[in-house]
Structure formats: C-alpha cells, structure tokens
C-alpha cells in the first residue's frame, strides 16, 4: 500500500494542471486534434505517471518497468504531455504535434517516440495489447503492472469485450483498466449513440473487480490504484466519472470539443483558466 500524502496530491495536481496547459498549447499549434478527451483523462494520467508507475525516462526499454497503454489513442496529447513532463523527450517536441515528420503523430506511434508503449488509435485494440503485456509478465513472473486507459465510447467496440473476457480468464491481477467515463462521444451522449451502460455491471459480469471513482479527484484515483494492487486473481476496472474538456469552462461537457483544437483566442482563454 502506497501512502497518499498531502504532498503527493499537491504534486500530481500541479502536474495535471501543467499537462492541461501543454495539451491546450500543443493542440492550438497543431490546429487539429482531440481536446475534450485529453482533458478528461489528465488527472488519471498524471496520477499514473507522477505517483503510481515504476518507470525510468532515461531507460524507456527497461524490462521491469510498468506499462501504460493509451487504448483511447486519440487522446495522444495527454500522453505526450505526461511523457514530456516526465522527461522522456524534450518539451519542444510538443510544438510539432501532428506536423510532417514529427515523432508526435496524431495517434501514438511506439516506433517514433520513446515512452510510448503501444501504437494505438484504432479503438479497442490497446486493451488487447495490455492483456498481452500482462500475460507476458505473468509468464515470466515479473512484478511489473500494466495500465490501460479506455474511453466510454471505445467500449462499444466488440474487441474490448473479447479482451476483457481473456483478462479475467487468465486471472490478470497485474492489469488495471481505467474507463474515462466522460459520457460523450463524437456524435453525442454515449447512451444516445450506442449505450454501453451500465458499465460497472458489464465489467463485473466479465469477471473483473470494479471500482467507481471521481476521475478528477486525485485521492480517489490513488486509492483505486492502491486497491487494484491488492486484488488477486482478477483484473481491476476503474470506472472514472469525468468531465469532457475538464479545466476549460467553455469546453466542459460539450461533445463538439471531441475532435476540435482550440483557436488562438480560445487557447488564450483556456490557458488563463488553467494558470
């Protein structure tokens, strides 16, 4: 059990704020990309990279490292912000998001950028990668843990449930999947487009330990991670209730901010709110 201190929460909260600022700036410069779902996941990703995970930016290929798979690959900016903040690559890489020849592809490319564990973007596939990584860890009796982050729209993909079945079948207690439950997908509210609800019941029925938290409350995120580490013989799903566009008032809870980058004046307004 890792101790959750005032200091650790202060650190991750500050990292999340900085990551959100970088997400806004890089998307503003790129002129396209996925803003809402990057902001909704920022607190979860900040807690993983700056509290939970055992990783070494100087040695990204370290065999015993924990692994994070961004299954909702379109939220690449949140991953890039975390990796840059952690020191996997220079901060100025962020200025080249989505540009020709850039290691920061529109969706994460493990062959182009250190620290990216999986080339994702086609929804539903990342969770299968995470299951494979967790299987390899079990096979080799290595103590590393595997984390995946999925969108609530993403779980409409059938493959997610194939992977979920396999994770429970192979008793992968070294796997924790966060569901960024911001309630919105491109075409609108998830329950209106194609309801995946009730999400907790589905994962429970598939044999997972299920936790429900406020995905913006760092103490709750850390507590969930602590709990997941104690669960045995089954994977843990953390259903994180989040707000799409969190941190920028004019983006919050608006589906139209799914795949749109802020314009210069909006960048300014957002950064002011995140200062």
């Amino acid at each position: 059990m890792k101790e959750i201190t005032e200091q650790s929460v202060t650190i991750t909260t500050e990292k999340a704020r900085q990551m959100r600022r970088n997400i806004i700036s890089m998307l503003g410069q790129a002129g396209s990309g996925h803003t809402g779902g990057s902001l909704s996941a920022s607190d979860i990703v900040a807690c993983l990279y700056f509290w939970e995970m055992n990783i070494d930016p100087k040695n990204p290929g370290w065999e015993a490292r924990d692994r994070f798979v961004l299954s909702k690959g379109h939220a690449a900016p949140v991953l890039y912000a975390a990796l840059a903040e952690k020191g996997f690559f220079p901060q100025d890489y962020l200025n080249r998001l989505r540009k020709l020849g850039s290691p920061l592809q529109g969706h994460p490319d493990m062959r182009k950028l250190p620290g990216v564990e999986a080339s994702t973007g086609s929804l539903g596939q990342g969770i299968s990668w995470a299951v494979g990584m967790a299987l390899a860890g079990k096979m080799d009796q290595k103590p590393y843990r595997v984390y995946a982050l999925l969108g609530d729209g993403e779980i409409e993909e059938g493959m997610v449930w194939e992977a979920s079945m396999a994770a429970a079948h192979y008793k992968l207690d070294n796997l924790t999947a966060f569901i960024d439950n911001n309630g919105l997908q491109i075409d609108g509210r998830v329950e209106e487009v194609m309801s995946p609800l009730p999400i907790p019941d589905k994962f429970r029925a598939f044999g997972w330990e299920v936790l429900e938290i406020d995905g913006h409350d760092h103490r709750q995120i850390m507590q969930a991670l602590n709990t997941a580490r104690t669960v045995q013989n089954r994977p843990t799903a953390v259903i994180a209730h989040t707000i799409k566009g969190k941190g920028c008032s004019f983006m919050e809870n608006r589906a139209e901010w799914h795949g749109v980058a802020p314009k210069p004046d909006e960048v300014e307004k957002a950064l002011a709110e995140l200062s």
Partner: protein, 311 residues
C-alpha cells in the same frame, strides 16, 4: 513420394523451435487441433495461450506479448486470421512492426467440405498490400519447417500461409531456403512456371510431361510472395519469354498479380495467371474442388501450350 500437410510440418517445427528458444509463445483461437498448434500446447502448456473464438483479441494480445519481448506465433484458419482480424493485423502488428508470425492454415479451396465460407481465396492479396508484412507460402512440409526457422531468426511481422491437405515432399532438410529468394526447381528455355504452395508439385508434374515431348519449361517455387524475388522473375522473363503463374488463390492480387506487376514494369512479356477465377469456393472433396476450379496438372500443361503460341 512421401506426403505431409504443411500444417503438420508447422506443428512439429513449432515444438522443435520451442525446445530451442524460451521466448517463443504460441496463440490459437480454438482451432489448435486443426492448425496443429496443439503439439506445442502439449509440450509447453505455460507458453501456449488459447484466445478462444476471438481472433481480433488473439492478434491484439500477440502485439502486447511481442511488445513485451516475446516471439509470437499466432494461428487460426486463413479466412479468420486475415479476414476477421485484418485491421488488427494491419494496425497492431504491421504498423507497429512487431515480431509476430501469423501462421494460418486451411487456406484456399482444399479446405474441402466446410465450403466457401471457410475457403480463403483472397488472403494473399490483402496481406500482401500491408506495409512491413512479409508473405510466405511454402510448397511442402520440409520447406515449411525451414521457413519457420528462418522466420524465427528474422524479426518482424509475417503472414505464413499453410494448407490442410497432404502434399508431396519436394525438398531435403539441407535445402538452401532463403526468405525472399525463389527456388528454381527446373530449368528450361521455352517458358517459366511460377507457382506457390500446393500448386508447385502439380506444376512439377506438368513440366515433366512436357519435357517428354521436348518442351523445356523452367519452374520456380515462389514461396515468398513478399518481398518478391523480382531479380529472378526478370531473369526468367528474359530467358524464357513467357510466364505462367499458378496458385490456389484468386487470380486477382495474389502471386499472379505480384508477378504481373514485376514483369510489366521491368520486362513486359506474355503472362497467364492460373488460379481461382474470382469466384468463391463451395463444399466438396479437395480433389473434386481442384478439378472443378481447374487447378490440375492437365490444365497447367494446357495453359503452357497456349502460352507458347503467344510468344
């Protein structure tokens, strides 16, 4: 002549490789008895993962295992491995350039009685068009084994196309088998047959029949469809002036398509493609189906004669 199905040779070679290398992991999707990965599962149960009837997740898990350092062999029937899981092969394996070998059995119409839904006639075409991915179609059990050993040594994603029926053994264990290098089984100046998979032994028979009449035909076992041995194709085009391609696959996009691309851009000569003529298969005994769809020694002989008239 001794016979062996390429899937049987695959199953045995996997066990051999498993004994040599601890980092090999084998996946299957509830077809291990048919694909012959069951041999490996029995020998190394801790390194065998059954994905159940879930090919997409099988390929996704293969990606994760490979990303964690494993050399992964994943099997199912050709139709499911390349069709059902196409986009997983494309995005999770090939795009990420991972060390996963998709070894699919039951390709083509020789699946037999299960019928058209289970007979892949387009798998070479779709796999061949994916960047980073190599495509291998061995002609017999010996070369299947040799291919597997080569593939282990060569990191990267591969599609290995295997079959259900027993095929004559054409090679010896010490054959120089190189990925990307076609094998010249016969030399002749009148025409060239380029074949792959189970069609190679039929083509060999056809060449022998024609030789008795004094028609000398070259035969190439083009076991690697990608990367294609363009140098050999161009050399044979120059030497013989006419090429017949033979494959148990749609004439669109497979070996025939690949050879036409190489020939038309480099040294245009008459090429005839033999294969499944853009139709789906159906139920029947493998031999009956080969007769019905015209994949026979007689047809190969006939097509070579027609081709010679076009020279």
């Amino acid at each position: 002549m001794d016979k062996q199905a390429t899937r049987d040779a695959y199953g045995k070679a996997l066990v051999e490789l498993g004994q040599l290398h601890d980092n090999i992991v084998v996946l299957d999707a509830d077809l291990s008895k048919s694909t012959k990965t069951a041999d490996f599962a029995k020998a190394f149960p801790e390194r065998f993962i059954n994905a159940g009837i879930a090919e997409q997740n099988m390929v996704g898990m293969a990606a994760g295992l490979a990303a964690a350092g494993k050399v992964v062999f994943a099997s199912s029937f050709a139709i499911f491995a390349t069709g059902r899981a196409f986009e997983q092969v494309r995005n999770s394996l090939a795009y990420a350039n991972l060390n996963v070998k998709i070894c699919a059995t039951h390709s083509g119409i020789t699946v037999g009685e299960d019928g058209g839904s289970h007979q892949s006639v387009e798998d070479i075409a779709v796999m061949r068009s994916i960047p980073n991915l190599s495509v291998i179609v061995p002609a017999d059990g010996v070369s299947t084994r040799l291919a597997l050993f080569r593939l282990y040594e060569q990191p990267g994603p591969v599609y290995l196309r295997l079959g259900r029926p027993a095929l004559p053994l054409l090679y010896k264990d010490d054959t120089d088998f190189q990925i990307g290098r076609g094998i010249e089984l016969r030399q002749g100046r009148d025409a060239t047959v380029i074949a792959c998979g189970g069609m190679v032994s039929l083509a060999l028979e056809a060449c022998r029949i024609l030789a008795e009449e004094g028609i000398q035909v070259s035969l190439v076992d083009m076991h690697t469809i990608k990367p294609l041995d363009q140098d050999l194709i161009i050399r044979k085009a120059k030497e013989t002036g006419a090429i017949l391609t033979v494959e148990e696959h749609n004439i669109i996009g497979g070996l025939g398509g690949a050879v036409c691309e190489a020939v038309s851009e480099n040294y245009p000569i008459p090429v005839k493609r033999m294969g499944i003529e853009d139709v789906f298969g159906q139920s029947g005994k493998p031999d009956e189906l080969m007769q019905y769809y015209g994949l026979t020694v007689d047809k190969i002989v006939q097509n070579i004669r027609l081709l010679l008239k076009k020279k």
